[in-house]
């Protein structure tokens, strides 16, 4: 049995499989299907300083080999999380990571500061690239200055592992990655969703309530693998890869491209037990290829 353990800037993981924010709830929603403690890391729903109702319905539309969503960061706010959610998840023996979002650096920092006080949350993933909120969100993630400003503010307030999630809706994702690295990020995760739109031709209106949404699923996987490869070559902090991973084969593509860990997102909707199937599939593949550790393939792409 190959050693699946990996490490993201000091964050020890029993295997490289994590769940993408917004696709796995708080983990507990999937407890009937998988043993949560067998997952390398669980990144829970996007959390903001203040409660958000999110966007109106419809928030989702299926696309060719994928889907668009425009949930818009619906959540009850960080204080509700600390008081009501944290107690339910704090004893789950794996890396419980909170995805943090906001509309200005101060909000991001304050939200992060309150999560910093939670002993059982070893890391946060900073969402500086949510494509589905009008003000803020996206704006920060698509410029080097904007991205750096948020990361600097949060770095001040947050002492544990800081992962920054990057948007692919940019001219150069490596420039953004380098900017957040310089601003103090411990790791980057990519890709967030690709901005898209689907039209109801009978109603002559967009299907989604805010017209556009973020595309995810197998359709975006080639873009995600390309971004991970480009960023992993450019930065010297760990990269977490995600985007359309449906099986172990897909996950291994990301690992070879340079990801130290991967996140499974949309696939959780198709198979609620997919996380462990992917972890086991990676293990089998490593065994069949004579690899003693997953570390033997991370970034080992010849290109």
């Amino acid at each position: 049995m190959a050693d699946l353990s990996t490490n993201i800037a000091g964050l020890q993981m029993k295997n490289p499989v994590m769940t993408a924010s917004g696709t796995f709830g708080y983990g507990v929603e999937f407890a009937d299907f998988v043993n949560l403690e067998d997952i390398g890391g669980i990144i829970v729903k996007g959390t903001t300083l203040n409660p958000r109702e999110g966007n109106d319905y419809p928030r989702m539309v299926e696309t060719a080999s994928g889907m668009l969503n425009c949930v818009g960061l619906q959540n009850k706010g960080v204080d509700y999380f600390c008081k009501n959610i944290y107690p339910q998840i704090k004893d789950i023996k794996t890396n419980m990571i909170v995805n943090v979002s906001g509309s200005c650096p101060e909000d991001y920092a304050e939200c992060a500061a309150r999560i910093n006080d939670l002993d059982s949350i070893p890391a946060i993933e900073l969402n500086i690239s949510c494509p589905n909120v009008r003000q803020g969100g996206m704006a920060f993630g698509v410029t080097t200055d904007g991205a750096a400003s948020v990361v600097r503010a949060v770095r001040e307030a947050y002492k544990k592992t800081l992962i920054v999630k990057l948007s692919p809706n940019v001219t150069s994702i490596t420039d953004i990655a380098l900017a957040v690295q310089d601003a103090g990020a411990d790791a980057v995760s990519l890709i967030n969703t690709l901005m898209g739109m689907v039209i109801d031709i009978e109603k002559r209106k967009p299907i989604l309530s805010i017209a556009t949404g973020g595309m995810s699923g197998p359709a975006v996987k080639p873009v995600a693998v390309r971004c991970v490869w480009q960023v992993a070559k450019a930065v010297n902090i760990p990269v977490v890869g995600l985007g359309g991973i449906m099986n172990a084969h897909d996950a291994i593509e990301f690992l070879l491209a340079g990801a130290s860990a991967i996140e499974i997102g949309t696939a959780n909707f198709v198979d609620p037990a997919i996380t462990l199937k992917v972890a086991n599939g990676i293990s089998e593949w490593l065994d069949n290829h004579g690899c003693k550790s997953v570390k033997e393939i991370i970034g080992q792409l010849e290109a």
Binding site: G25, F33, E53, D56, M60, V61, E62, N69, T266, F269
Partner: protein, 258 residues
């Protein structure tokens, strides 16, 4: 209530209507407990256009035969693929999902179950459960024409069935809310499943009469588990997941204009 993801086996396939297929699924082990009004998420194989699972309400649970029935309207490529399934094929389900209809409130209560289109599906199971529990369910079913009425014999075997058709080819002509039954009889509560305009008009009737009423919503869903927050309905508590906190809601919780 524990949820499962597993392959069930197609036991029987029936075509009660040119645009519907009835899949009777079974399993080698006893099927888990399922509540009336709950639904399943099926994985469609061999359909390039179908990436996500499809939510389908539970039509009937035959405990003797250990069967779970799904009455499916064949609208798109995905549902047409489901209509190609043969006895012996496997179908992967995530189930049971959602809250389901309210259980019997008091023995002997008269419950009006109103359904239209494919919305009649979950009412069959609900009516049976209410009947067995000791309530008095009454079915009021609406359809475009006689030919579009589904599972009539089964409904009749459980409780009285009243029908409206838009063309008058069966029962009373018009919409369910125009049926004389609503004037001639009174009910302790009403449960509705069907097209939104129908549910709204029934909800208005119930509200005007002060009769407790619950409706079963069919918002588009992804996960079915309350994780993705895609299928939300705006309620007095804010946006909530239809897949988890629904699909059944008391009308006073919704923000519909009634």
């Amino acid at each position: 209530m524990k949820k499962f993801v597993k392959d069930l086996t197609v036991a029987e396939v029936e075509f009660p209507h040119s645009r519907y297929v009835l899949l009777k699924l079974t399993d080698s082990e006893p099927l888990p407990e399922m509540l009336p009004g709950q639904f399943v998420e099926v994985k469609v194989e061999g359909s390039p256009k179908t990436f996500l699972r499809r939510p389908i309400s539970i039509n009937y649970v035959d405990k003797e035969k250990n069967q779970l029935w799904l009455l499916i309207q064949t609208v798109g490529e995905g549902t047409h693929k489901l209509a190609e399934l043969k006895a012996g094929d496997k179908l992967n389900l995530v189930f049971p999902l959602g809250n389901g209809f309210s259980p019997m409130q008091k023995a002997g209560e008269k419950v009006l179950l109103v359904g239209g289109g494919v919305g009649v599906a979950p009412l069959l199971n609900y009516g049976k459960e209410l009947k067995e529990a000791g309530a008095q369910p009454v079915f009021l079913l609406g359809a475009r024409s006689k030919a579009d009425l589904l599972e009539q014999e089964l409904f009749k075997s459980i409780a009285p069935v009243y029908v409206t058709t838009e063309d008058g080819s069966e029962g009373e002509k018009g919409f369910v809310t125009q049926h004389s039954l609503l004037e001639s009889e009174t009910f302790d509560r009403i449960s509705v499943c069907g097209p939104k305009p129908m549910m709204v008009s029934v909800a208005r009737y119930a509200k005007s009469k002060g009769i407790p009423c619950e409706v079963s919503l069919e918002n588009m869903m992804a996960c079915g588990l309350g994780a993705c927050l895609c299928c939300v309905e705006n309620t007095v508590r804010g946006n909530v997941c239809v897949c988890k906190e629904g699909p059944v809601f008391p009308i006073e919780e919704l923000t519909w204009e009634l």
